[in-house]
Every structure is written in C-alpha cells, then in structure tokens.
C-alpha cells in the first residue's frame, strides 16, 4: 500500500465538506429539502391565484394584494427544515456514525459547527430561491386578474434574503435540539413541541398567552417575512428573538456535545 505523501490536517473547511458529502449522500435528506422548497414555491403560486379567483362578496377577501402574502407560509413550513436538521445529527447517533465523525474531528466543536453550517446553508438557499421565484412569478399571476402590488427594492431584499435567514436560523434550532437529545424520535417530537405546540399552551391558561406566544421562534422569526406593521416588535427585533433562541440552544448543545461520551 502506498503512503500519503502530503501532510494533512483537520479543519473547519474539511469538516464542512465532510458534512456536505454526508448530507447529499442520503437521498432522504435531498427529498425532504426538495419537498420544503416545493411547498414554499407552491404557496407562492397558489396565493396570488387564489386572490384572483377569490369570492368578492366575502369580507375576508376584501383587501388589496400585498407582497408578503406570497411567502406567508414559510414560517410554518420551516418546521420541516428544523426536523431535517434534528434528523441529520440523531441519525448519526442511531447508526453509530457519530463515532467516526468524532474520531475524524476530535475537537468536536468544529464537527457540530460544520453540521450547522451545512444545514443552515441549504436552508438559506431554499429560502432565497423559493422566495425569489415566488416574488418573480406572483405579479404575473395577479396581473391576469388585473391586480398588482407595490414592492420596493429594500422590501424585496428583506423578503428574499429574510426567507433565507429565517429558515437557516430555524434549522439551527433543529441541529441544537438533535445534539442535546440524541434520540431520533424524541428530538423530532421536541422540535415540533417547541416550535408549534408550546407557543399555544400559555393561551390556554393565561390572558397573556397571546403576548407570550409572540416570543416563540416561529412567531417572532416570521415577523421578518410579514408586513412591517404586523407587530410592534417589527421585522428585525422579531428575527433577533429567533436568533437568540437558536444561538442559546446551539451554545447549550455545544457544551454537551463537547463534554459527553460518544
């Protein structure tokens, strides 16, 4: 057997390439990512189409079209990417691959960072591409019914890049929960619980439930994709709250990931 001639070293770039190879090596990852993309694009086509054919006598339909409605489901569809992220890491614990991952990147934190970078990168691209396609096509569909909306450049950038940022940040919550919980089923259920179920529970017990709900990841983060007037927090404070959730959970995950036996 020949020997390796070059001197090699492990670094974040290598770890990230490794995670990318692992990501696209499993068809199920590509299917789930593609499905998420397709859902957002489908919504972007259906919303203006439904607007054109709406029942004009209905009070709910009596509003002017606006660009944010094109991507108004991205907030909840993002749950799929958070689940995909949780699966990426917990599947390694189930299959035993995590041992090889940690043998290759024994400082561990770069391995977790690489995973987060890959899923966040994929999510960012899904968000930017789906929102870009949606906002490009929607005006043509609306124009078919004689409708239109105004969209200035700064709002267009907020909605397109914001979709990417929102999905990337939400996916990091999934990676963090996966690394903390390590079990496939438990981490998927926890992701769903934190993102979808927990936010509505305070409403059952408290008159301030609606207030509390605003500070959960999906609700706060979605403000970045909504009309600026939707909530007094505003788009960027909303996104900041999501980012604090993601970074807080990721920091906890990093401490545990570094310390625990594999």
């Amino acid at each position: 057997m020949t020997s390796l001639t070059h001197s090699h070293r492990v670094d974040l770039a290598g770890a990230t390439r490794s995670e990318w190879i692992k990501f696209h090596g499993l068809r199920s990852n590509l299917v789930l990512a593609g499905f998420t993309f397709a859902l957002i694009v489908a919504n972007a086509l259906l919303m203006p189409w439904a607007y054109v054919f709406r029942d004009r006598s209905s009070v709910q339909a009596d509003y002017a079209p606006y660009p944010e409605m094109i991507i108004d489901k991205t907030g909840y569809i993002g749950l799929l990417l958070a689940i995909l992220a949780a699966l990426l890491i917990t599947n390694e614990y189930r299959s035993g691959q995590i041992k090889m991952t940690l043998l290759s990147v024994p400082k561990r934190i770069p391995a977790l960072a690489a995973k987060a970078l890959v899923i966040a990168g994929v999510s960012f691209l899904i968000g930017v591409a789906s929102a870009g396609i949606g906002l490009a096509i929607a005006p043509a569909i609306l124009a078919g019914g004689g409708y239109s909306y105004e969209l200035d450049v700064s709002d267009a950038l907020r909605l397109i890049l914001g979709s990417g940022l929102y999905l990337a940040t939400l996916s990091i919550i999934g990676i963090a929960l996966g690394a903390i919980i390590r079990n496939v089923v438990a981490s998927v259920l926890s992701t769903i619980a934190l993102l979808v179920i927990l936010p509505i529970i305070p409403q059952i017990f408290s008159e301030y439930g609606g207030e509390i709900k605003r500070f959960f990841p999906i609700e706060a983060g979605s403000l970045l994709l909504g009309q600026s007037t939707t909530d007094s927090l505003g788009p960027w404070i909303g996104y900041l709250i999501l980012a604090i959730w993601a970074l807080g959970l990721l920091a906890l995950a990093a401490v545990l990931f570094k310390r625990r036996d594999a």
Binding site: H8, R9, G25, K99, L102, L103, A262
Partner: protein, 302 residues
Amino acid sequence: MSIEVLGLSKQYGDHFAVKDATFRVEPGKVTGFLGPNGAGKSTTMRSIVGLDRPTAGEALIDGQRYAAQTAPLQRVGALLDAKAAHKSRTAWNYLSSIAATHHIPRSRVEEVLDATGLTSVARRKVGGFSLGMGQRLGIAAALLGDPATLILDEPVNGLDPEGVTWVRTLLRTLADEGRTVFLSSHLLSELALIADHVIIIGRGQILADSPISALTEGKEQRVRIRTSQAAEFSNRVAAGGVTVTSTERDVLEIEGLTAEHIAETARDAGILLVELTPVKHTLEDAYNEITRDAVEYASTTR
C-alpha cells in the same frame, strides 16, 4: 509512535469499567489486548481516542492527547465499531466523508477500498453488507489516513477464515513497517497467532503486560503419568516443592519433578507406569491462571 496510558480510570456510578490502568504500546509490534467480555477493553480503547472521557488519568499518543493532534487520522486509525455508517449510505460516500475532514484525496479512498477488497461494492449501500464486509469497511476507514498507529477492537469478529488470514497478514505487515498495532480480543487462541506482546485486562485492571512468549516461561512443567498404583506412587514422590494432583482415576499430574526423575522413582519402587507425558504449560493455562479471579461473567458450566 507509541500509545501511553497513564493511570486511566473510567467510572460509571460506583462501578469501575477501567481502574488505574497504566501501560505502553510500542511501535513495530502487534500488541494484543486480551480480556474476558466486559473487562474494560473497549472502554480503554475509546478513552485513548477521546470518545470517552476518563474519570482519571489520560492516554497519550506520541506524547499528545488524541484530540490535540493536528491530523488525528494520520496518527491513529481506529476500528471501534464495525458498520458505523447509516445503512442507506454507500461505502464510497462513507469513506469520502471521512477523508474530506483531513483533505485526503479521493485516490486514497480508492486505495483503501482496493486494499480491503471492497472496490466492487463501493457504490452499494452499507445496509446490505454482511458482517464481514462491514468489518472490512471499518478497517478501510481506519487505514484512510495511512496512520502510524492502529487501534482495533475485535477486528476479526464476523470475518470468514479467509478474512481472518487477511487481517492477520495485514496487521503483521503494518507492524513490520514500524507502525504501532494494538488490537483487542476476548479470544486467546486468536491473539496467540497474531500478537507479539500481550496486555491482559480483567475487571478493569491490568493483570499482565509481557511478550507473549514470556507468559509461559518460568512456569513449572508438569508431568502426567498413568499407573494402576496411583495412590502408592503419589506417596513415593510426595515431598516439599512437589505437587501432585489427580484429574481422573489412575492419572496423576506431578509438578516439581523432571520426567526422568519420575521414571527412575517408578523403576526403583517397582511400579509400572503405562504413560509418562511431560505437559507443556500452555498459553491457555497462563491466561486462565491470570484471569481466574477476574472473570466478570463466569459461566456456571465451567
């Protein structure tokens, strides 16, 4: 290129999986790590490469902890768990992902696939691999970085006879190239064929650390005799420093006397011996003696 384990302990609750283990694995040799199941072999190996965090002590590879190495895969290749890949992944994807962490070129992935005989199944999903193929894949992963040290936990488990011979030849070659080869097994017979040096562990403690040939050295030879006058002969030879045991009717095993001396004694006493066999102290005997008190899960039939 040596592995140094210094006062390593790993505690789970109040149970010590490994207790104050200290030993050194030298390059250029195949060192066997032998012990009954549950003796702490895997925990020790996992601690050496940082998968487990020791409760006390440390393990150094060339004077540095595994995690502190700049290119860990070039220092140490480890096989700790065969089939450590998602079952829907191909062998090629699995090895490529590992190689990528160290910027190891794809030509090297091809080389280790070739060396382990997996080239023809490289694009197949590892879920369909047999235990033996999984083991080969694990060895391929361990060889990826062309490492100076190999740590292999039960590497021949599940291999067919041809595969066992292949592993044996491979490990010998690697050791002859000056690499450090450290492999565990719970089977003495297997290690006796591969290892130059053996470290024996039982109940988490290091019980022996010596060249395999030295295990049987210095042990009294026994002589097995068969005679119808066993009781009488037993009295004749009984003296200080001589032990006589009887394993079956008319058979005595005598320790402390040479075969010649026993034959002379029988002749002088007019006792007919129908069998006189020097019994070599086997590796098996030495191992059983060392681990007798340390068998974690002794079977009741023994």
